[in-house]
């Protein structure tokens, strides 16, 4: 059965373009231009994945509000923010509300599709028993590539999709410096220096929340980042 994606976007042209793209990939699409009609529709049926714009016409923070309500209804519904707002503060706010990813509208359609596919793949993997061969271990780090989860010292680290991919690409070959291009390719996104810096900072913080002495990600100034494994 085809997956159902809901897109809530006030800009008709973008909404239609994304809807067309999703349909082309074989998804069913529900498109809404505001929070209220979307919530009304979700009352009868929740979609499998939601793409939300933060700024919904006059409802400036409507996207965040919608995310909060959806997360209240379902803990594992994948939610992606797709917005023109690229400030660090908005990104942090969105992710704190339980979104799986926070993307700016710079992202290309293929990249967006890759993410959506990955999120559905993870959703499927969650429902199956854990496969033994899908896991990578690097010291205290355990990566489940199917479920796209990361554990540090056997505790789950809640990473977004982008963050997961970044950790994954670094940890696969410990000691190798990954430069910006490599990180961008892995994360299926166009990232500038500042965005990468922010991502790495957030990842470190999440690990440090479990282990205050975490220092496995090393900055190689001017080059990139590498995973240190002991």
């Amino acid at each position: 059965m085809a997956k159902r994606i809901a897109i809530i976007e006030d800009e008709a042209a973008i909404r239609d373009n994304y809807a067309a793209a999703f349909k082309r990939e074989g998804y069913n699409v529900d498109a809404f231009d505001a929070r209220e009609p979307a919530l009304n529709a979700f009352d009868s049926r929740l979609p499998d994945l939601v793409v939300i714009d933060v700024n919904l016409r006059d409802d400036i923070e409507g996207g965040f509000e919608l995310c909060r309500e959806l997360r209240a209804r379902s803990a594992d519904l994948p939610i992606i923010f797709l917005t023109a707002r690229d400030s660090e503060f908005d990104a942090v706010s969105g992710l704190r509300l339980g979104a799986d990813d926070y993307l700016t509208k710079d992202i290309s359609l293929p990249h967006l599709m890759a993410r959506i596919a990955a999120l559905f793949r993870r959703l499927d993997a969650m429902q199956k028993p854990q496969a033994a061969n899908s896991s990578i271990r690097r010291g205290d780090l355990a990566i489940d590539t199917e479920r796209m989860t990361v554990h540090w010292r056997d505790q789950a680290v809640g990473l977004t999709l982008t963050e997961f991919w970044l950790v994954h690409v670094m940890a696969r070959y410990p000691g190798h410096v990954k430069n910006r291009q490599q990180l961008m390719d892995a994360a299926q996104a166009v990232l500038d220096d500042n965005t990468i810096t922010s991502h790495i900072k957030r990842i470190r913080r999440k690990f440090m929340a479990i282990d205050a002495d975490f220092n496995a990600i090393e900055t190689v100034y001017g080059m990139g980042y590498r995973w240190l494994s002991d």
Binding site: E11, A13, I14, N17, Y18, A20, A21, R24, A84, R85, D86, S87, E88, F89, T104, K105, D106, S108, L109, P110, V190, D192, D193, N194, T195, T197, S198, K201, T219, V220, Y221, G222, M223
Partner: protein, 680 residues
């Protein structure tokens, strides 16, 4: 001309106040003096008319035809005690100035006459190179063939014939004098005289009973160099007979003594100015200024008009009063004089009034009164008023000058603060005098307004890029998503080409927008990032190594004398800043050029310089270079919006440092100053 100087110049007008004060003092002084003079003149006139009734006591005026001979009259000084007849003048108790001088054959001849009781005293000092003593023969005859030095006193009481008393010496010492008249030549026993030789000549002193003498007196000195030489005669009068001698009038003196008041001196002269009566003393009481007023006395001394020397107001020792005001009175005109002591503070007001009957001037009456040199000081109230005026004037002048400098300081402070605000871009800072209610306060507030608007405008300009990129992002998303959808449609080769080109353009647009919003993302990162402590030297080494990889056609050199350079902040951002500078350096240099990085410590700062060979910066761009959307490049390179150096500046300033650019030998150097971390 600065405002301060202008105000200073204007405040110089305040000096008119002390000037006016001085004028006031002078005016007052002059008015007071005039008052005193008028009062004294009144007294003088009254006394003069009293004295005029005693016309008989006045010696008859000289015949107007021989008026010019008044100077040849002999004055008979009133002596305080009878002198000893010894040939010396000391015991006459007169000033040497009392001696009358005339020209003699061998030098000046000095002579004086005095009276005491019924005696007339004569003193003659003759210069004589060769004193020729008389013999019995030459004693009597003085018209040849033999001669001697002799002094003759000529006495005349018209219309009686002339009598001469002849003094000649056979030897120095007491001598016998002879009376010579129409009847003959014989010794005069009533006269005692003494002849005294001196190194320069001889002196004669004689005592003669008044009753032997007439009213007109004269002296003839005969001088010869040897007995056989005819004597040269020097005469004290030029006419055929001597003029009347003048002496104090006893009756007038007595009258004056009755009239005189304490502190006042009265002198009466005859028509030629010879003193014939005098009385009274100037009191000494007014001659001293109180010590505590010493300084103000000196100031006033400089201010008020000076008079003639007080000494010249004293009775003339020669017996003849020749002050201009006396001369005026003897010619019938009343006149006042003002005499002022040099230091004593003593001054004399004098008035001379003519004494006369029916237009005939008998003489002059002089009234003198001692007073304070600075009259206005004697009036205590007035002195206080003047002092107060002076003090107030000085205070006002001082206050005006102080106010002027205060005003100009406020304006200068305002202008400096405004310039500082403009320079440091603290455009919202409060300016001085902002709360003042005067015009400077208004000016300050207008300045603040202008600066604030400028600041808002600058802030708007700075945020323009990120706002613009933000606004453009949605339409760009429409374009790119449409193009991406379009690529999945069936397109012919031409359409595919167009689409690809459109994608390319959209991609470039996206990169531009991303660069435009970079500044705001950097600001955000600095606001939220947690600063860490790191070694800038290590970071630089690693970064420079990376540049060598990225820019293969440039050489990179990194020099530092520091073993470690601890800095607090974000290494990523500093690298980003360095990226901008490296990018800039590469753009402005040629292939194969060497880009130098140098890290130095200066005080508690670190200086990081990135120097590249290349064209110098235009001087006027040097400070604007780091502003948003300012670029020195030509139009060719569209990739540059002039945001790179602005981002570099944001990062440097976010780390508490600064960035500047300067032209160096053959290139351009960008210098970042960063605070060094305390190495504790």
């Amino acid at each position: 001309m600065t405002l301060k100087r202008q105000l200073l110049l204007v405040s110089l007008l305040a000096l008119l106040l002390p000037w006016a004060g001085c004028e006031f003092i002078r005016e007052t002084e002059s008015a007071l003096r005039t008052g005193q003079q008028q009062m004294l003149a009144g007294t003088a006139r009254a006394l003069a008319s009293t004295m005029a009734t005693r016309g008989n006591d006045y010696p008859p005026g000289l015949d107007p035809s021989i008026d010019s001979l008044a100077g040849e009259q002999h004055y008979i000084h009133a002596l305080a005690k009878p002198p000893t007849i010894d040939g010396y003048f000391d015991d006459w108790l007169l000033s040497p100035d009392s001696l009358r001088s005339m020209r003699g054959a061998d030098g000046p001849i000095q002579m004086a006459m005095g009276s005491y009781g019924r005696m007339l005293y004569l003193y003659v000092d003759v210069r004589d190179r060769n004193v020729v003593y008389a013999t019995a023969q030459t004693m009597i005859l003085d018209d040849g063939p033999r001669y001697a030095d002799r002094v003759s006193l000529v006495s005349l009481d018209p219309p009686e014939p002339e009598v001469q008393f002849v003094f000649a010496a056979e030897a120095p010492g007491a001598i016998i004098s002879y009376r010579k008249d129409a009847f003959g030549f014989e010794p005069e026993p009533g006269i005692s005289a003494r002849w005294q030789d001196g190194p320069l000549g001889y002196r004669l002193e004689a005592q003669i009973p008044r009753n032997l003498l007439g009213r007109n007196l004269g002296l003839i000195i005969g001088n010869t160099s040897s007995e056989s030489q005819r004597a040269t005669r020097s005469s004290s009068y030029s006419g055929p007979s001597p003029a009347p001698a003048v002496a104090l009038s006893k009756s007038l003196n007595a009258a004056v003594a009755e009239l005189v008041q304490p502190g006042m001196r009265i002198i009466i002269t005859d028509a030629s100015g010879w003193r014939i009566a005098a009385g009274g003393e100037l009191s000494a009481a007014t001659t001293t200024g109180s010590p505590e007023n010493g300084w103000s006395n000196r100031i006033y001394d400089l201010l008020v008009e000076g008079g003639e020397d007080a000494e010249s107001a004293e009775p003339d020792p020669s017996g003849r009063e020749q002050q201009p005001y006396v001369s005026a009175a003897t010619s019938g005109r009343e006149m006042a004089g003002w005499f002022r002591g040099e230091q004593s503070g003593r001054a004399i007001v004098a008035v001379a009034a003519p004494v006369g009957n029916d237009g005939e001037v008998l003489g002059a009456l002089i009234v003198q009164q001692g007073t304070d040199a600075i009259l206005s000081l004697t009036n205590e109230g007035l002195a206080r008023l003047i002092n107060l005026t002076l003090i107030v004037t000085l205070l006002v002048a001082g206050a005006l000058i102080g106010y002027a400098s205060w005003l100009s300081r406020r304006i200068r402070r305002l202008s400096i603060a405004a310039e500082d605000a403009l320079l440091n871009e603290t455009l919202h800072a409060a300016l001085p005098s902002a709360l003042a209610v005067d015009e400077i306060g208004d000016l300050s507030r207008s300045f603040s307004n202008v600066l604030r608007q400028l600041g808002d405008y600058n802030a708007y300009l700075r945020s323009l890029a990120s706002k613009l990129s933000h606004e453009l992002r949605t339409p760009l998303a429409i374009v790119t998503s449409s193009l991406e959808n379009l690529e999945h449609e069936d397109l012919n080769a031409a359409s595919a080409g167009y689409t690809a080109r459109a994608r390319e353009g959209a991609d470039r647009l996206r990169r531009i927008l991303s660069a435009m919003s970079e500044a705001s993302r950097v600001e955000e990162l600095m606001e939220h990032g947690d600063p860490e402590s790191f070694d800038l030297r290590a970071v630089l080494q690693s970064t420079v190594a990376a540049y060598r990889d990225v820019y293969k056609d440039r050489k990179f050199e990194f020099e530092t004398s520091l073993a470690e350079a601890k800095v607090t902040g974000s290494p990523e951002l500093l690298i980003q800043m360095l990226d901008k500078l490296a990018d800039n350096a590469v753009d402005f240099s040629d292939s194969g050029d060497t880009i130098k990085l140098r890290l130095e410590a200066e005080g508690n700062h670190l200086l990081l310089a990135v120097t590249n060979p290349g064209p110098p910066l235009p001087e006027k761009m040097r400070t604007q270079l780091f502003d948003s959307m300012v670029s020195v490049r030509g139009g060719e390179n569209t990739r540059h919006l002039g945001l790179g150096l602005y981002v570099a500046r944001l990062i440097a300033e976010g780390h508490g440092g600064s960035i500047s650019a300067e032209n160096v030998e053959g290139g351009v150097s960008f210098v970042i100053q960063l605070p060094a971390q305390d190495s504790r």
